[in-house]
Amino acid sequence: MNKNAFILFALGFFLVNFASATQNFTENSLEVSVDILATQDWAEIELNTTSIDFGTVNMTTGSVVDKRKNMYYEIRNKGNVNITVTPSLADGADPIFDNLKFSKSVSDSLSSWKSMGDYSINMTATDSVNLWSTWQKYAIRLDLSNYLGAGEQIPFKIVNYKKTVVFEITAA
């Protein structure tokens, strides 16, 4: 029984291969393809994060650390030039989101965190037609630990406060 099964399997395998080989020889079209390198400098970028929710911040209780909310976003690039990515607020200055800080990792020291306007990301050229860089993870922090320092008060609860960050990309 097993022997018969083996013979049937071998026969089937032979027929399938014979059929595909025949098909190769009888194909009447030829697919051609090519990659052509750019003659100009170019850059492409992609972000895989569409929104960041920092959750709830309670300013009256908790430690300084509780008033710092950390999140991550990811960027990747390709192209034959190094690029600089500069975040900014779409609508200009904002009393709350002016306290955004940027760094590579949430575990970075306090001095590593930079404010908007002082921060940019440098990304290296991939120098290839279709090769993306690996996703690069970057940290973003809403630091409200000093928000009430200048006598600022928020009399009412602020709910669902939204602003938009724009990333400006230029050649480095």
Binding site: Q40, D41, D53, L144, I154, V159, V165, V166, F167
Partner: protein, 182 residues
């Protein structure tokens, strides 16, 4: 009351980041040498070719970082036209009215996405006025200019000679009077 004012709960601080799928631009830098009151254009390729807004920001100095480019084209007197030629192909034309070096960045931004891809622009603008005046004026005018200079020199020379003669004559009279008294 103070407690109420001090009570602060910021809920759902929500930050929109950019949703983007492969936004690309080429070239990333353009240098143009041109003259004032003339138009010069460059081609920029940008993808995706959805509804796209284009803006330019300028600086009088070449500095690092797009955030330092905060002058409008109106401010530095450069007229800019953006013309979409075909799929993802844009013609950007500059017409400066002042001479000098101008450093700018042209940002392309698909509507709905908030990624701005920028291409650097350097304009080296020469004035039509000084050099072009020389080539436009006739030889007669150039001759006139030289004659004027020569005439001024001659007048100055004659005034100097007259002044020296007056001084010499005055000194002569002074010496004569001095001799009479003595």
């Amino acid at each position: 009351m103070r407690k109420i004012i001090a009570y602060l709960l910021i809920s759902f601080l929500f930050l929109s980041l950019v949703s983007s799928a492969g936004i690309k631009i080429s070239p990333t830098k353009t240098i143009i040498e041109m003259k004032t009151e003339t138009q010069n254009c460059t081609i920029v390729y940008f993808s995706p070719d959805t509804n796209t807004t284009v803006e330019s920001r300028w600086s009088k100095e070449k500095v690092i970082g797009s955030e330092s480019y905060n002058l409008s084209s109106d401010k530095i007197k450069i007229k800019i036209d953006y013309i979409r030629l075909e799929y993802g192909k844009y013609k950007v034309c500059f017409e400066p009215s002042r001479a000098g070096y101008f450093y700018g960045v042209i940002f392309f931004q698909p509507v709905g996405s908030l990624v701005k891809m920028g291409t650097w622009v350097e304009l080296n603008v020469e004035s039509l006025t000084p050099r072009e005046t020389v080539s436009l004026v006739t030889g007669n005018v150039i001759g006139k200019e030289n004659t004027t200079n020569f005439g001024l020199g001659l007048i100055f020379f004659l005034l100097l000679v007259t002044f020296l003669l007056i001084v010499r004559r005055t000194l002569g009279r002074f010496n004569t009077l001095k001799n009479k008294h003595s």
